[in-house]
């Protein structure tokens, strides 16, 4: 081994926590096999590794659990994978403060378990997110349906420690929930996809584990009807924690056989299930038992007035099953070619987006499935085709670019969150940069002047 990067990394870590050569192959990013994969166990080691990479001009890919490595453009280069799984400790958890300090490599599931033992949780529920690390979740700022009540990590991170591109360790924020001391550096790093610095520690605000979790699931014939219910809820003083619309948009009003459609198993088994529509609105409620009980009936009534065909009260295992059914949109599809796009609109435009997705699906010979966090206007569209090879890619790309163009006209936001690498090599997964891009490029130049952190992966090729 005469690779200086490997040699110097080995001096820092020892051979036991370093992969190189053929051993590095499983950590290929978009087909690029890195020269080295390093697993530091301390912030100091991360800093030393970045110092080496900076000196040698090696491109660094931070890696938590690897669950979202298909987000963004393929990197320009991938020399050193910085695996953070050994930085996996809860550093502090003070229940009386409703805060915790954690290392970036801890998995969300493991963290929730540790916090749950003391009656608290990090109010983040990204679908299929148990393995994901806190650092990775912060870098991508992905969230789940309960963002309607709790926000995203952007709202929960109160302090941060990062290692900069040159190996300098800095912090921002602090350990208290209310703090305006200096600039809000947390916001700079959360959602920056590891392109400005490597996140190594996070201080987060927590919430009490709700005593009861429940949901009202209504089925509707169309997204418009489901929006009617959503709108009534948004105008009411009711306090649901999540609002999820699921279904499979098709061109003619959306009525497709509900077995093949979006209604997940276990939902719609209420009294009028037989002619229930294929669109499901899942309204989550949680808190003290009397609060949950008091909201169930009004939510029920609002959904009925909006035209719900069936209504089911979910709790316990049924609720978990319904949430898991929603999560299938995040599983690796069996279709040969696919892409999952995320669009942000104002909530009222979600039905229109479903219609557009249906039209694009019909036009290009695709199936589309939708899971929308409709209260926030965040809609995930999974495009799938049975056609393989470049034919399948062509179809998915045409539909995805159609969604992107529609989004641009709507002032909506767009990103292709996930797709096979062959497809992503042919298309920009990000929306076109806007007027604020000069500031973003300025930030990248200021914080990573040599361009070694996840080079080229972020919007506009940052």
């Amino acid at each position: 081994m005469d690779d200086r990067l490997v040699q110097e990394a080995e001096q820092i870590l020892g051979a036991a926590h370093l992969l190189a050569g053929a051993d590095a192959a499983p950590y290929a990013v978009d087909g690029m096999v890195p020269r080295a994969v390093a697993f530091p166990e301390s912030v100091e080691e991360v800093a030393a590794l970045l110092g080496v990479a900076h000196r040698l001009g090696a491109a660094v890919i931070p890696w938590g659990a690897g669950t979202r490595q298909d987000l963004g453009r393929p990197p320009k280069r991938a020399d050193l994978i910085l695996g953070l799984r050994r930085l996996n400790r809860v550093l502090e958890h003070e229940p009386g403060d409703l805060t915790a300090s954690v290392q970036a490599g801890i998995a969300l599931g493991a963290l929730q378990e540790a916090l749950g033992a003391r009656g608290q949780w990090l109010a983040l529920d990204p679908p299929r997110g148990h393995q994901a690390t806190l650092g990775g979740l912060a870098a991508t700022n992905v969230a789940g349906p309960r963002r309607f009540r709790y926000g995203t990590l952007r709202d929960m991170v109160i302090g941060i420690r990062v290692v900069g591109a040159d190996g300098t360790v800095t912090k921002g924020g602090g350990k208290v929930v209310k703090n305006v001391t200096g600039y809000d550096m947390n916001k700079l790093y959360v959602g920056s996809l590891g392109t400005l610095a490597v996140i190594v520690e996070l201080n987060v605000r927590l919430h009490p584990v709700p005593a009861v979790r429940a949901a009202v699931a209504g089925t509707f014939r169309s997204p418009d009807e489901a929006w009617g219910a959503t709108r009534a809820i948004l105008h009411s003083p009711l306090q649901p924690v999540s609002l999820v619309l699921m279904g499979e948009p098709t061109e003619h009003g959306g009525v497709r056989g509900s077995a093949a459609g979006g209604a997940p198993a276990g939902i719609g088994s209420g009294p009028v299930a037989e002619d229930a529509g294929p669109w499901v609105l899942l309204v989550g409620i949680e808190g003290f038992p009397e609060v949950v009980a008091g909201q169930r009936q009004p939510l029920h009534d609002l959904c009925l007035r909006a035209g719900a065909r069936s209504l089911t009260a979910l709790e316990g295992e049924e609720l978990v099953a319904a949430e898991s059914a929603m999560g299938t949109l995040w599983d690796l599809p069996s279709a040969p070619c696919w892409a999952r796009c995320r669009l942000s609109t104002v909530p009222a435009r979600v039905p229109k987006l479903c219609e557009v997705a249906a039209g694009l699906g019909a036009e290009h010979g695709l199936r589309a499935r939708v899971a929308s966090f409709i209260g926030n206007g965040i809609t995930h569209v999974l495009l799938m085709t049975d056609a393989g090879g470049t034919v399948g890619e062509d179809r998915v790309i045409a539909a995805a670019e159609g969604l992107k163009a529609w989004a641009a006209g709507e002032q909506a936001a767009y990103v292709m969150e996930a797709a096979p690498v062959a497809l992503r090599r042919r298309v920009d997964p990000w929306e076109a940069p806007r007027g604020d891009f000069r500031l973003m490029a300025g930030l990248k130049a200021a914080f990573d002047p040599e361009g070694i952190l996840n080079p080229g992966r972020f919007i506009g090729g940052l």
Binding site: V180, L238, F288, V346, G377, V415, L439
Partner: protein
Amino acid sequence: MVEARIVRELTALLGPERVVGDPHDLIVYECDGLTLERATPGVVVLPETAEEVARIVKIAHREQLPFVARGAGTGLSGGCLDLGGGIIISMARMDRILEVDFDSRLAMVEPGLVNLWLTNAVSKHGFLYAPDPSSQSACTIGGNVAENSGGPHTLKYGTTTNHVLGLEVVLPDGEIVWLGGRVQDRPGYDLTGVFVGSEGTFGIATKVVVRLLPAPEAVLTMLGVFETMDDAGNTVSQIIREGIVPAALEIMDQLTTQAVEDYIHAGYPRDAGAVLLVELDGPRAGMALQADRITRICRENHAREVRIAKDDEERQKLWKGRKSAFGAYGRITPNFYVMDGVVPRTRLPEILRQIEEIGARHGLRIANVFHAGDGNLHPMVLYDGRIPEQTSRALQCGEEILRACVDLGGALTGEHGIGVEKQNFMPMMFSPADLAAMERLKQVFSPDNLCNPGKIFPNPSHHGETTQRMPGIPGGAWI
């Protein structure tokens, strides 16, 4: 001083009635709510559109003149002082609500809009704007954006940054750009997030897209009366430990409740060691049970009395007392100096003991009123500026209190900002490398450092007071 030809150019742009240059008229703009710090501005202008703001900023940029935006001047850290004798850009005339969209639960407003006016405008539709700094009847949304303002209800609802979706801003070179917008999670760096709380050093917001929330179905305000501060503090900890997150948890000490009673008769007992104000909001269902839980917790912590406001009038009165604390102090002391330190909630009893010691050591009384739910303290150092040495001792008290907060794992400021007031304390919390990263961020927005210069970062030539003139009682200040 701003050169006469520049004043003429500004006057040609805006008309004489929107340019303030008379030294007598400029006195109004010398300070904000922190009257210890003063600086006379070069000239004050009052634009009415984003385009006018951009043209003013372009002139400043061309002439390399410093400029600073100003809202209502209710800030408490000297953040809107014109230290460089440049241009103060008053946003007072840009105070319209441009759009309200209840389906999307958002509003687009101009920065000069008074915070409370927004809630007043949407309340008949059952909505509100959640951030409610105590100055909300005067302070502006733009100022709230600059300072990332909080308020009593941040415990449940978060601060301004959690409620701003997008901003139209004039960058320090005069370009107008949008950061964020109506929709959430736009790909790219969170420029909205870093702009909020940047204390006016990144540019000037000219439109603000904010979240609206539905007004809660029910609100219930309770008053717990305690013999000792420790009992009140322990009650707060237990409420949180039991999984209850009220909308607000506020504590006042005896010095404060007595001053408030003399001032506005809010109905607080005069002889209690501490009172705890608890507000619950949300669905009506279950609220009575929540109140029962809190009553029980108060009793377990030796509350002498637990009172539930029986109607809206009593509720308003209890809150008026809390929000008038600042004004009330004016009746019991010639001068006071308010701090804004934060500690982890569980360290409240410890910091209060330390504050008492610090006051005793300097021979000054310190009153306490604070957002107990999130550990945000407002220790009020009472002093008489006419007595030699008292001002410097008050400032010394403040510094020691903040050092104690930081040593307990807290922060220098929870909602007032660093401004000029605490700039030299920044190294208590941040290393030179931390500050260098912040400086790098600032350079991206403001490479010429003309936009509100001289704030936030340590300045060795600034020692406590900017001014020689002593303030009177700050009448229009809130916390």
